[in-house]
């Protein structure tokens, strides 16, 4: 049994130096949303200093992408932000199409938007469930909220499974179009599901946002001011909750969002409750989008290139491109540098959770241990997205 010769990073206990308790919310902790380690310095219950340690899920995707061809890479990026895989492959495919000047048929763009919006709703439901677990604990009310959210999410996963064969790593997007085409039954199912989930939203609201204990736990917690948000570069609902109305779907529209600009939900308070309200309203916005997309799905082909015989054959002209997509966590961008070969020369993923997590050392000190958990839950980080 060859155990790797990597010694565990020394856990530096600095009690003597600071006179506080150095607490290690380690890579295994019920509420760190995956393998994030927070080194907290506590004096009593209040947090004096917080230092996130990441990298426990660094899978070297950017190095891997320099060894795979353009058509093989989309499924790899779907495993990055595993709560909304279609947004990842959508961003990658957009960047490649922009660099190679590949045109995408209108129906394919609408199907992409449909899959992305459904997965945004599913991702927000997972966020709401885990936020319930953070604030309510696994042996308390939080679990009930988590169960209700996952009950709704199972419907979406069933629909995706019917359409694409897998529950959430769907491989819908390909360079130049889409792989699956929702038929009439699937579209009818999608509209029916939209109203079902819309009917469940008030119950979820009464268990979370409407609950006075929940408001007490999130109001005024983890306040991110507007210029801190801009300076650190937080994205998505976290940025919009601090008063900056920037949504990639509205600001620089791509695919079907040129014809269907979504409503940009913003708040100004910038605390955990504002972030909660922005995400909860976005579920409503996405449901409306899904209805309009399903009804108005244009006819036509779903793939603009000849069937791909040898994935290693597609070559892109030398050059550079940056394309961004609004993933549930924020602006997810791909910066591709190509040297004319079949493989990307250098590919940088601008991950939203990586930037959202950077705000922790600025925002958490001063609050209690319970506020650390509430703030982290409201930022909705996904560790695959952070460590890439």
């Amino acid at each position: 049994m060859g155990v790797p010769a990597v010694s565990a990073a020394p856990i530096e206990v600095v009690e003597r130096e600071f006179g506080e308790l150095a607490l290690n919310m380690g890579p295994q902790h019920p509420s760190t949303h995956g393998v994030l380690r927070l080194v907290l310095h506590l004096s009593g219950e209040t947090v004096v200093k917080a230092m996130p340690v990441i990298g426990y899920l660094h899978r070297g995707v950017e190095k891997l992408s320099e060894h795979l061809a353009y058509d093989q890479l989309a499924p790899v990026y779907e495993r990055d932000d595993y709560l909304s895989p279609t947004s990842n492959s959508n961003a990658y495919v957009l960047a490649v199409e922009k660099l190679g000047g590949i045109e995408v048929p209108r129906r394919a763009q609408w199907v992409r938007a449909l899959a992305c919006e459904w997965q945004r709703i599913a991702s927000h439901l997972v966020w709401l469930g885990t936020l319930g677990l953070d604030l309510g604990g696994a042996l308390g009310g939080g679990t009930t909220l988590y169960m209700y959210c996952f009950r709704e999410r199972e419907k979406i996963l069933d629909w995706l499974e019917a359409l694409t064969g897998t529950r959430f790593h769907t491989n819908v997007n390909m360079v130049g179009g889409v792989r699956y085409d929702p038929d009439a039954a699937s579209r009818a199912e999608s509209t029916a599901m939209a109203s079902e989930i819309e009917a469940a939203l008030p119950e979820l609201w009464s268990m979370s946002g409407g609950n006075p204990i929940f408001q007490e736990r999130t109001r005024g917690v983890g306040v991110i001011s507007k210029d801190l948000a801009l300076g650190v570069g937080v994205t998505g609902p976290t940025l919009r909750a601090s008063g900056v109305a920037y949504d990639v779907r509205a600001a620089s529209p791509y695919d079907a969002y040129r014809e269907l600009p979504p409503k940009v939900v913003t708040r100004t308070a910038g605390d955990a409750e504002a972030r909660f309200q922005v995400r909860f309203e976005e579920i409503g916005v996405s449901l409306a989008l899904v209805r309009t997309i399903t009804e108005g799905l244009p006819a036509g082909p779903i793939f603009s290139r000849k069937p791909i015989k040898n994935p290693k054959a597609t070559k892109l002209p030398a050059g550079e491109a940056y394309a961004a997509v609004e993933s549930p966590r924020g602006e997810l961008g791909f910066h591709i540098v190509s040297d004319g070969g079949p493989k990307p020369y250098r590919l940088k993923i601008n991950a939203p959770s990586f930037k959202n997590l950077q705000v922790i050392p600025h925002v958490v000190p001063g609050g209690l241990l319970a506020d650390v958990v509430a703030t982290l839950g409201s930022l909705d980080p996904v560790m695959g997205d952070v460590d890439r």
């Binding site: 049994m1 295994q28 660094h58 495993r79 529950r167 959430f168």
Partner: protein, 183 residues
């Protein structure tokens, strides 16, 4: 710790990890009729271990989301006595749900060592089984069996909740067939 031997936690644990109940078992057999009693108690304790498997709240990557779905309402693992326990001390099963990186490997080893005997490991998803498409990346351990001994491998990327439950049933069958208590 790096050479794979079990560290001393509390009173010295027998090196081959057999629970202290086995020493008790030796005495019981000497009594007249003890053997039969022992076999019957074996089945009873195995049945108890099988029907209350407590996994550790520990997920790495996309498979963790499917593990959460397995414990949620629709695929309710609570039906089989499987509830999540947050601390390794009270956990019986360590489900490795996601990609094992070299920075995480020593932590997984520590977690495994902190768990009390008898303990089992389910390697969930092809990243944990063999590293999947990340297997020749510089920072990924190709398979969690390089770090800890694995009992059940669940295939899939990510395995559906039914597949994970099938893995749990396979582990339950394995526990029933296991020889002595704590083996």
């Amino acid at each position: 710790m790096a050479d794979g031997s079990l560290p001393v936690v509390g009173q010295p644990m027998p090196a081959d990890g057999r629970g202290r109940l086995d020493d008790l078992a030796e005495e019981v057999v000497r009594f007249p009729g003890g053997g039969i009693a022992l076999v019957r108690s074996d089945v009873l304790f195995h049945w108890a271990q099988k029907s209350s498997l407590w996994p550790l709240t520990f997920g790495l990557a996309c498979c963790a989301i499917e593990m959460m779905a397995t414990f949620a309402g629709r695929f309710d693992a609570d039906r089989f006595g499987v509830i999540l326990r947050p601390t390794p001390r009270q956990a019986d099963v360590l489900v490795i749900a996601g990609t094992v990186t070299i920075k995480m490997a020593p932590r997984i080893r520590t977690l495994y060592d902190q768990m009390a005997q008898p303990k089992w490991v389910i390697s969930m998803g092809s990243c944990a089984n063999s590293g999947d498409h990340y297997r020749n990346v510089y920072s990924v351990v190709p398979g969690v069996d390089h770090v800890i001994p694995v009992d059940i491998y669940v295939a899939g990327c990510p395995p559906t909740p039914e597949a994970l439950l099938e893995g749990v049933f396979a582990l339950q069958r394995k526990i029933m067939e296991a020889g002595r208590v704590g083996a």
